[in-house]
């Protein structure tokens, strides 16, 4: 089963096409890793999956992205509704300033009009437990979110995204600003989370992709005479991609010859 299907997805920055048309399927309840060198458009493609791409001034995308059979790029779709179903965690751990730990998680619920204290309490605890953060923060819920460590803030961001129970969770290099111990805890968390939702993770670390992902998509930069453009060169089972890549560019990338 595919949670999302990308058909002829072409992201643009102004008039410049950033990535050649992408066609791929993202399997349900699996972790799909997107790897590739800098500038290959992997973050751009990820941001297209919940229409965050277009929040950058001048950025647009064409093509079709099916989420549960519905095209999220259809004309009558409100992008904010898509972002509720497809959550996102960013590279820099973000604790919302002026909000305490509890409110950092509750913001998405409040946005949906949930204001009953008991309902909020239960949902916040559930989200923090899912993010394996509850035991560390249950006594400091009223402390500012910015007081947590970097690794805790990133799990706080994941809890915030999980609180509204999305179908898909997108992570844009979630561990690249963290130390190895915090990275390990995030990776462990993602592996347990895939039972409940579909995960797409952009990462610079091939080891990370190999450790946690079920499928891997490899993007490369195509340096043309006039413009550089990203391109999906390979997508398959992670073990397959890392042991018997079908594309020579993938092989040279994962063996460390380029990128």
């Amino acid at each position: 089963m595919s949670a999302m299907i990308l058909q002829e997805l072409k992201p643009f920055y102004g008039k410049r096409q950033a990535v050649k048309a992408v066609n791929m399927e993202l399997a349900s309840n699996q972790i799909t890793a997107i790897i590739g060198p800098s500038g290959c458009g992997k973050s751009t493609v990820l941001r297209c999956l919940n229409r965050m791409h277009e929040t950058i001034p001048g950025a647009t995308a064409t093509g079709t992205v099916l989420l549960g059979g519905q095209d999220i790029y259809a004309a009558d779709v409100d992008p904010t509704m898509i972002r509720i179903k497809v959550g996102m965690v960013f590279q820099q751990p973000v604790a919302l300033r002026t909000r305490n730990v509890y409110e950092n998680v509750a913001i998405g619920l409040r946005l949906q009009g949930i204001s009953q204290r008991a309902e909020l309490d239960a949902a916040v605890e559930r989200a923090l437990r899912s993010a394996v953060l509850w035991d560390e923060v249950k006594d400091v819920l009223s402390k500012p979110g910015t007081a947590l460590s970097g690794g805790q803030q990133q799990r706080l961001a994941i809890a915030r995204a999980l609180a509204i129970q999305p179908d898909v969770l997108l992570l844009d290099e979630p561990a690249s600003a963290l130390d190895p111990i915090a990275t390990a805890s995030i990776e462990e968390l993602l592996v347990t989370l895939k039972q409940r939702l579909t995960i797409v993770i952009v990462t610079h670390s091939m080891q990370q992709a190999a450790r946690i992902s079920d499928e891997t998509a490899v993007f490369m930069v195509d340096v043309g005479q006039n413009q550089t453009i990203g391109e999906l060169v390979e997508k398959g089972q992670t073990t397959q991609v890392f042991t018997q890549p079908s594309d020579p560019r993938t092989e040279s990338y994962i063996s460390g010859r380029v990128g």
């Binding site: 919940n50 965050m52 929040t55 001034p57 904010t80 509704m81 898509i82 972002r83 509720i84 959550g87 996102m88 965690v89 960013f90 820099q92 973000v94 919302l96 300033r97 002026t98 909000r99 305490n100 913001i107 998405g108 946005l111 009223s142 402390k143 500012p144 910015t146 961001a157 915030r160 995204a161 509204i164």
Partner: protein, 326 residues
Amino acid sequence: MRTFNYRRRKLTDQVMRGLSALATGCAIIPLIAIIGYVLTIGAGAMSWSFFSDVYQPPSSAPEPTADKPAPAYDPNDPFADISVAPIDAAGNVDPTVSVYNAAPRGGVLHGILGTLTIAGIGLLFALPIGIFAGIYLSEFRNERYATIVRFCCDVLSGSPSIVAGVTIYVLVVLQAKQFSAVAGSMALAILMIPIVTRTTEEMLKLVPETMREAARGLGAPVWYSTLTVVLPAALPGIVTGVMLAFARGAGETAPLILTVLGSNVISMDIFKPMAALPLLTYRYTESPYPGENTQAWGAAFVLMMLVLLMNILVRVATRKAGGNSR
């Protein structure tokens, strides 16, 4: 060779450092001189009644008391007007005492209340417009329109304040055939709006883009992430801008001359003329009575203290409100 270069570089560094320190000194000399001068001379006007009383005409007559009431007015007596007649303690006209040398009497309470009212209402006009315009410029980028608005703001904040006064004089005072405090507030609002707009914009831009994305990634519309995430994070900076705007408005004289006119009594009717500290300073400076000249410095001193006090109060208040932010 190497030593020569090193010594030369070190010398250049010291010279440049010295010049910078000198320039900084020159820049703060006027500030210190003004504050010092206002403090020294204005302190001479300070007394309890300066804060609790309104305008009193200069007079050499003693303050009337219960056992010595003010003498009854006699229309046939050319010196009967107690405000100008030199009258001694016994109630007799004393030709050796001149009203010219009379000690200053009365206070500037009407000016304090007037300034707070006029600048306060001006801020009420300027805050919503300025903050929403700042939010628009920073959060809803329509670059062409934003560039125009930004340019107009900068021109407006650089234009002489008398222009705002004349504009309101023509558009409001002449139409209503009435000088009024609210017209003064409008003139001050024109001067405050660009300050509030630009500081709001700059402070919102300092909030990291990652915070906006975090909120938007949850499906928050722009207005929601702005109001609940971005604006609170930028609040301390915006408050500073608002205080700057208040200080600018409270200190303006020229637009008030053309709009609120001034008053000698406490008047809280915002559709009538009102007193204001800068107006009192201006009026008393022109006065022929040395006592009132001193009071001009006093009024300037009170104005400075008022702005300072407001600043401190608002800062303490916002620090408490946003206390868990740091």
